[in-house]
């Protein structure tokens, strides 16, 4: 069942010429984790603030748990929305202790607020230091407190603004997994904003990709990766190679050689073959393959990227396992086991 739904949301700031959020509609299912992904200025943070009630859309409707919370000029104020939020800078109250921070939002009517706060802190992995003040904690601990504070009042939905951006690379992988587990344990519905596709792929159930205020595609990671609706989404998860090809009866002619493909006869004019680096394979022996000159090999630890050039100097990038050793300017052979075909013009 969908817990949050946005319908045709538009938002423009002040005198700005373009909309920050443009005709955006989507639904969030109960219990799922949704990532809003986009570059800076894509409208992802604005969208989060619209859901929280910290901004108001120019038009559109938002409903939360079956009730309309935004419609036209009418709006439920943030303190009545029961929405939890973790800010990018955590926004912990510096004059209150950890425990007071977490207790702050828990209604008095809910039995023993302090006990509930302590339980929530334990849930996020903080078992002591309840009497400390935020500035006495490390960045990672502060984030846990912020998360505990947001989920302690049992909100209908949890919003997180760039939750991983302040963490160093070493900590990031661990924290992503932990936060996902905590959210799943509580069963809460969560939306988080990020500019890092790795965050989205590793943490979210579904991903919404925003560009210039427009929602491009919302789907599970596998579908976004494999069946992107447009080039923007496709390139979002890493650059794709674009290779010009001329179709014939039984395959494509390219500047690297001939590819046998019976699909080719469906095309009349020149096409682009789109493929990711991992969809190619470098091989040693000659045969029914493409060939070119290795011009650059970049080593990344878990893999290598090999840049191969045709006679004109046009390059494609192919991914290989890290153990292989190449000589640059060596002539090599490669083949593509997966590519998309797109009309060139």
């Amino acid at each position: 069942m969908s817990i949050l739904s946005l319908r045709r949301i538009n938002k423009k700031y002040g005198q700005a010429k373009v909309f920050a959020v443009n005709e955006v509609s989507f639904d969030v299912e109960e219990g799922e984790i949704l990532a809003l992904v986009g570059e800076s200025g894509s409208g992802k943070t604005t969208l989060l603030r619209l859901i929280a009630g910290l901004e108001h859309p120019d038009d559109g409707t938002i409903s939360l748990a079956g009730q309309v919370i935004v419609q036209g000029k009418e709006s439920v104020p943030p303190h009545d929305r029961k929405v939890g939020m973790v800010f990018q800078d955590y926004a912990l109250f510096p004059h209150l202790t950890i425990l007071e921070n977490v207790t702050f939002g828990i209604a008095k009517s809910k039995g023993n607020p302090e006990q509930l706060a302590k339980d929530t802190l334990k849930l996020v992995g903080l078992t002591e230091d309840f009497k400390k003040y935020p500035h006495q904690l490390s960045g990672g601990q502060q984030q846990r407190v912020a998360l505990a504070r947001a989920i302690a009042p049992n909100p209908r939905i949890l919003l997180m603004d760039e939750p991983f951006s302040n963490l160093d690379a070493m900590l990031k992988d661990q924290v992503r997994e932990e936060i996902r587990q905590i959210i799943k344990k509580t069963g809460i519905t969560a939306i988080f904003v990020t500019h890092d596709t790795k965050d989205a792929l590793s943490t979210a159930d579904r991903i919404a990709i925003l560009h210039k205020g427009y929602l491009q595609q919302i789907d599970i990671p596998k579908n976004l990766y494999e069946t992107p609706v447009n080039p923007y989404v496709a390139n979002f998860f890493g650059k794709r190679n674009e290779l010009l090809a001329t179709p014939s009866e039984d395959g494509f002619y390219t500047s690297f050689g001939f590819i046998t493909d019976l699909e080719a006869k469906k095309y009349k004019r020149q096409v682009k073959l789109l493929f990711r680096p991992e969809h190619g394979e470098v091989v040693q022996r000659e045969g029914q393959q493409l060939s070119g000159k290795i011009v650059k090999v970049s080593y990344f630890g878990s893999h290598q990227l090999v840049k191969i050039s045709d006679d004109e100097g046009f390059r494609v990038t192919i991914r290989t396992n890290p153990g292989r050793i190449f000589d640059e300017v060596e002539r090599t052979f490669f083949y593509l086991w997966k590519y998309d075909i797109e009309e060139a013009f």
């Binding site: 929280a52 009418e74 709006s75 009545d80 912990l92 109250f93 939002g105 009042p153």
Partner: protein, 545 residues
């Protein structure tokens, strides 16, 4: 299933409160503008024909003279303390700000006393060398004298702002200049000074506002300016419209200064582009130069603060037994009370205005909120006129409508209400700016976090925002407190009949040939004024780090 209450998102009660405060604060300004279109009073033609040219000339010369002298004093000392290491450098950084605590009118009559026949200089020459002069040593009771007095009390504005500008200039920029072969002097004129220009002009603009506001000094020295003209029209001629005409012309001066200041700033960016703003390292110079720099700062400090202050202390020593009595203590108590009430009200109003702004998504709220702070640029005498007219009209309406005409009298005008109202209009910016800085520093997210946790905006203000900006609230109150304590022209016009504050008492005594006696009130005003100055300096020092 809980029912969701709907609200219009653009409305909250804070916007309402803010609009009421803005209306209240803008009344005097709007009044002046409206009355400008009424026909002039009877004495206008007299003033226009005989006095206006003199007012114009004196005001302009005063402004130019003070601008030049404060530039010279302020920029030179700021450059020395921010670039060179010399004996006492650390102390001069704050000693040179102290003259700000000296109200111009007190400085004026203190210097008259110092140079007088009975003053220390002449007494010294008479007793030691048997040389006596006729009358005063140097006659300073004229335009150049007024320029001198106002400059030595106002140059710290230029000093403060240009010092922080020099300190913020990036080290690399100056080093680049040296590496390109420029020496310190050339670097100063070609790099540091042009880069600090917006700051310096802003400092001079502030000093100019104070010059236009000044009544005590020019009145005491007999220099007729627009401010004295307003007093004369209001008190001597009882001609409100003429006072307003003069006030409006004075306002044109103010807006001209503000306009020129913004014009010179333009769109150019004078700050360093990258974040590498390491402060310039102070350089060691030869012993002779060190002593020279020390001497320059010492002489300026002696003239602008220490000598007149010691003179005041001597007068206190001579007269305190006679002056400090129960009545005097009442005066202190009353002045402090008045200043504290104004300070607290201004800070409360500032919090309301800024909180409305904080909660509102609209730009127009920001621009109209700025109106509240305009008063600081407007001379006290102008504000006094602007406050008096609506209050007199209100009184008249109350008596006509509610009471019989027989019991004519004062209801709001001529009461403390009028005075406090005027203080709020005039000094709103003084309290508003620190509160604004406080809110900016804590950021909006803590407030939003609280409201998302189900706490309403009012409770959030009490539980989150206010505790976090506690110190800035106190500094706001303190800054207003000191300004109100020093304030003269506004108090003179609006105080209830025979009501004295420290400032008016000191001025009355001084103008009635009781200069020595007036020192008691003066010293209290100055000492109170020094507290926030030291405070302010701490704040600037923190920013340097």
């Amino acid at each position: 299933m809980d029912i969701i209450r709907k609200k219009y998102y653009w409305w909250n009660k804070w916007t309402g409160y803010a609009l009421i405060i803005l209306l209240f604060v803008a009344t005097p300004l709007v009044t002046i503008l409206f009355k400008l279109f009424a026909s002039p009073g009877g004495s206008w033609s007299h003033i226009a024909n005989n006095l206006l040219y003199g007012y114009f000339q004196n005001t302009l010369l005063l402004l130019l003279g003070v601008a030049a002298l404060t530039f010279l004093l302020g920029v030179s000392t700021a450059w020395l303390v921010s670039n060179y290491e010399f004996p006492g450098r650390r102390y001069f950084e704050w000693l040179l700000i102290l003259p700000l605590g000296f109200p111009g009118y007190i400085m004026a009559y203190t210097y008259v006393g110092i140079l007088d026949y009975t003053g220390p200089i002449q007494t010294f020459f008479r007793n030691t060398f048997d040389i006596s002069f006729k009358g005063s040593l140097i006659d300073i009771m004229n335009l150049p004298g007024a320029i001198f007095i106002l400059s030595i009390t106002l140059f710290p504005y230029v000093f403060l702002i240009s010092r922080s500008s020099f300190l913020q200039q990036s080290k690399t920029m100056q080093e680049a200049s040296f590496l390109l072969g420029a020496n310190r002097t050339k670097t100063f004129f070609k790099i540091a000074l042009p880069m600090a220009r917006p700051a310096i002009v802003a400092g001079i603009a502030l000093a100019s506002m104070e010059v236009l506001n000044d009544y005590g000094t020019v009145k005491y020295f007999g220099v007729n300016t627009f401010t004295t003209g307003i007093f004369r029209a209001w008190f001597s001629m009882g001609d409100a419209t003429t006072a307003i005409y003069l006030a409006a012309i004075l306002m044109i001066f103010v807006f001209l200064i503000l306009y020129l200041e913004s014009l010179q700033r333009g769109n150019r960016q004078y700050s360093s582009v990258n974040g590498l703003n390491k402060p310039t390292a102070r350089i060691e110079v030869s012993m002779q130069k060190k002593l020279l720099y020390s001497a320059i700062c010492t002489i300026i400090f002696l003239i602008s603060f220490l000598i007149p202050f010691l003179q005041l202390l001597k007068w206190v020593w001579l007269t305190h037994e006679k002056v400090v009595n129960q009545e005097f203590l009442t005066l202190i108590y009353r002045s402090f009370g008045l200043a504290a009430i104004a300070g607290v009200l201004i800070v409360i109003f500032s919090v309301i205005l800024l909180y409305a702004l904080r909660l509102s998504p609209f730009k127009w709220v920001k621009s109209i909120t700025k109106v509240a702070t305009l008063g600081y640029a407007i001379p006290g005498a102008v504000i006094a006129v602007g406050v008096m007219i609506p209050l007199l009209a209100f009184d008249k309406w109350v008596y006509d409508a509610l009471l019989s005409a027989r019991t004519a009298g004062l209801f709001l005008s001529g009461t403390l209400f009028a005075l406090i109202f005027a203080y709020i209009v005039r000094f709103m910016a003084v309290g508003y700016n620190p509160v604004e800085a406080g809110f900016q520093k804590i950021g909006i997210h803590v407030n939003e976090a609280s409201r998302l946790l189900g706490v309403r905006s009012t409770k959030t203000l009490w539980k989150i925002d206010l505790p976090l900006i506690k110190t800035t609230l106190f500094s706001g109150i303190l800054l207003v407190f000191v300004d109100v304590l020093k304030e003269l022209p506004l108090t003179l016009i609006l105080r209830p009949f025979n009501y004295q504050t420290l400032a008016t008492k000191a001025f009355d005594m001084a103008t009635n040939e009781m200069i020595a006696e007036s020192a008691n009130a003066a010293v209290i005003i100055i000492l109170t004024g020094i507290i926030p100055i030291i405070f302010l300096n701490q704040m600037i020092k923190k920013r340097e780090l």
